[in-house]
């Protein structure tokens, strides 16, 4: 116990050089780094198998079962298979960027893991060391920064492919990730307010009595939603909405380059799950009923077990969501991010700040609670009323939209496939206007089209620019 106190004291923000983090010899640093890397890769392989298995059970299927016991080696086999596939670099690609993009999206995902506390202090080859690679005083900001660098992998992959749909997909997922990064960042602020530090190990240390998930339920929920959006997972997996965008930003990638994007996605999942564990669920500390009966639960290597179980909990949540919820539409998704999550977290942050300031000034606790509860109820009521009015508006709009457009089949309004800003197929009853390039194609011999024929290319280009110009 006294040892843990010392450890706590050593890792506070003010201590310039937390004992135990900077004192590792170089070989131990390297060993731990390799361990963390291996952990991430193994977790990826495991999570892919686990996801396929759980989703299969949820859908009354069996899932992978042939490779290894219970199909456990399936994802490894998939990885090896990808390695033996042809590495295609499409002709239109910007080569250096195209090759760099998978690495750019993968490396930050791994680097974010460096400040995740996976356990307490243990003895490794006779050295006392933490089950955490390093501890920065600005740890959580560091994770946020690495996440924002990871976005480049997606932007560059989409742009450098030299193909329209991947570019659209990458723009979309970038807009999605930056939107949810804001909500995520705002939900952290409440944690910092309570812990007085941005260092992950101190934040875990501060949750000795109560988890921040209990103290800051709203922050916790916002973080959960934001973390699913940030990792592009269902129900927010719009970047890979097959019906709209084919594969999204990685459509033109093959072989191990494609595998690296996959790796990045799953490592990101493990990182955000670990961060949720660290910030809100007491990190590597044992949950309450266990600590009550067993004193040793929070010491040594046992801490790794608690960390692992909590991360598994979040990974299961990811899979559960995927197995349960349909994908959101893009506008619904952006509305949720910008109009619900961000204002809510700002209001919530000012609320807890007010409570904390008043408590620090020594006001009566009960009065504050009553006042806050009143304010919350008032806001809730207001929002419900607002929603009701909005609801009627929406329904009216829907009713308007539902009025059958093909009432006058034919000429009332010529069908414009680019009217909504992106091409859509005609509804029953609507008819596509004659496309100029189709006439051209019929007129020309077939061979002219195949070799990227310049004869028709210019006409194509022009019509396409016209359409896009109109849209902007």
């Amino acid at each position: 116990m006294s040892q843990r106190l010392a450890e706590l004291a050593a890792t506070t923000d003010l201590a310039a050089d937390p004992v135990g983090f900077a004192s590792d010899p170089w070989w131990l640093i390297l060993f731990k780094a390799v361990l963390v890397f291996a952990f991430c890769v193994v977790m990826t392989l495991f999570a892919i198998w686990w996801e396929r298995k759980v989703v299969a059970w949820m859908q009354m299927r069996i899932g992978p079962k042939h490779v290894g016991p219970q199909g456990l080696l399936q994802s490894l086999a998939d990885g090896v298979k990808l390695a033996f596939k042809e590495d295609i670099i499409v002709k239109a690609a910007d080569k250096p960027v195209y090759i760099l993009a998978p690495v750019v999206s993968m490396v930050p995902a791994f680097m974010a893991f460096a400040v995740i506390p996976m356990g307490g202090q243990v003895s490794m080859f006779g050295h006392q060391t933490h089950l955490q690679l390093t501890d920065l005083p600005v740890g959580v900001l560091y994770i946020l920064a690495t996440a924002s660098v990871g976005i480049y992998g997606i932007v560059l992959a989409g742009w450098s492919s030299g193909s329209t749909y991947p570019l659209l997909g990458s723009l979309r997922s970038t807009a999605q990730m930056i939107s949810y990064e804001v909500a995520m960042g705002l939900s952290f602020a409440g944690v910092f307010l309570y812990s007085g530090s941005m260092s992950t190990s101190t934040i875990v240390g501060q949750q000795g009595d109560t988890w921040f998930a209990v103290l800051l339920p709203v922050s916790f929920i916002i973080y959960i939603v934001a973390m699913v959006g940030e990792t592009n997972r269902a129900p927010f997996d719009l970047p890979e909405a097959e019906g709209e965008l084919v594969g999204g930003f990685h459509t033109e990638y093959s072989s191990l380059k494609f595998a690296l994007f996959f790796l990045a996605e799953y490592v990101n999942m493990v990182v955000v799950s670990s961060l949720a564990t660290t910030l809100f669920l007491g990190g590597y500390r044992a949950p309450w009923p266990i600590t009550a009966v067993w004193d040793g639960a929070n010491s040594g290597w046992w801490t790794l077990l608690w960390y692992f179980l909590k991360v598994q909990l979040f990974l299961f949540l990811f899979i559960w969501l995927r197995g349960t919820l349909p994908r959101l539409r893009y506008d619904q998704f952006m509305r949720l991010g910008w109009k619900v999550l961000i204002p809510t977290s700002l209001v919530w942050l000012m609320l807890i700040a007010t409570v904390r300031a008043m408590k620090n000034e020594g006001y009566d606790y009960r009065g504050i609670v009553l006042g806050i509860a009143g304010a919350i109820i008032a806001i809730l009521v207001l929002s419900v009323v607002w929603d009701m009015f909005r609801g009627t508006d929406d329904e009216e709009e829907k009713a308007k939209a539902a009025q059958p457009p093909p009432g006058a089949p034919g000429a009332a309004e010529p069908f414009d496939p680019m009217a909504g800003g992106f091409p859509v197929p005609p509804l029953p009853g609507q008819e596509l206007p004659p496309v100029p390039r189709r006439a051209v194609r019929r007129a020309e011999p077939v061979g002219a089209m195949v070799g990227n024929g310049n004869g028709t290319g210019s006409a194509d280009d022009e019509s396409a620019t016209d359409a896009t110009d109109k849209e902007v």
Binding site: F21, A189, F192, R335, K339, A353, D461
Partner: protein, 119 residues
């Protein structure tokens, strides 16, 4: 600075892994040249040629990025404020409330102008 040595080590390992897999993918895979394979796949039908200007996209992406910068800056100010909050007291609360309120005006304006509507 010793605190950053592990980060460099981990980043180095990850980057080495990435480079090795890029090289391995190029070496282990078969190479069977076919002109059709090198065309963009896009969505399975004949690809839309990228327009001469490089293509245009709804300006809303730009607004989203702009709003993102504004809120990111706000977040960056919120963090030291939250860490130092207990020593600032009511004064700090009022300071930040003013700041957030001003930024919120911009946010509300964007909302009213329909900048947050996606179709």
């Amino acid at each position: 600075m010793n605190l950053y040595a592990p980060i460099l080590a981990l980043g180095g390992i990850a980057a080495a892994f990435g480079v090795v897999s890029l090289v391995a993918g190029a070496l282990t895979g078969p190479k069977r040249y076919n002109r059709a394979k090198l065309e963009a796949y896009e969505c399975g039908i004949e690809p839309t040629p990228q327009p001469a200007g490089g293509g245009r996209f709804p300006v809303k992406y730009y607004l989203t990025a702009m709003l993102f910068i504004i809120f990111d800056i706000e977040i960056v100010f919120l963090y030291p404020w939250a860490v130092y909050f207990d020593s600032l007291g009511i004064f700090g609360l009022v300071e930040m409330a003013l700041f957030i309120a001003t930024v919120f005006v911009a946010y509300a304006y964007l909302w009213r102008r329909g900048g947050l509507e996606w179709d």
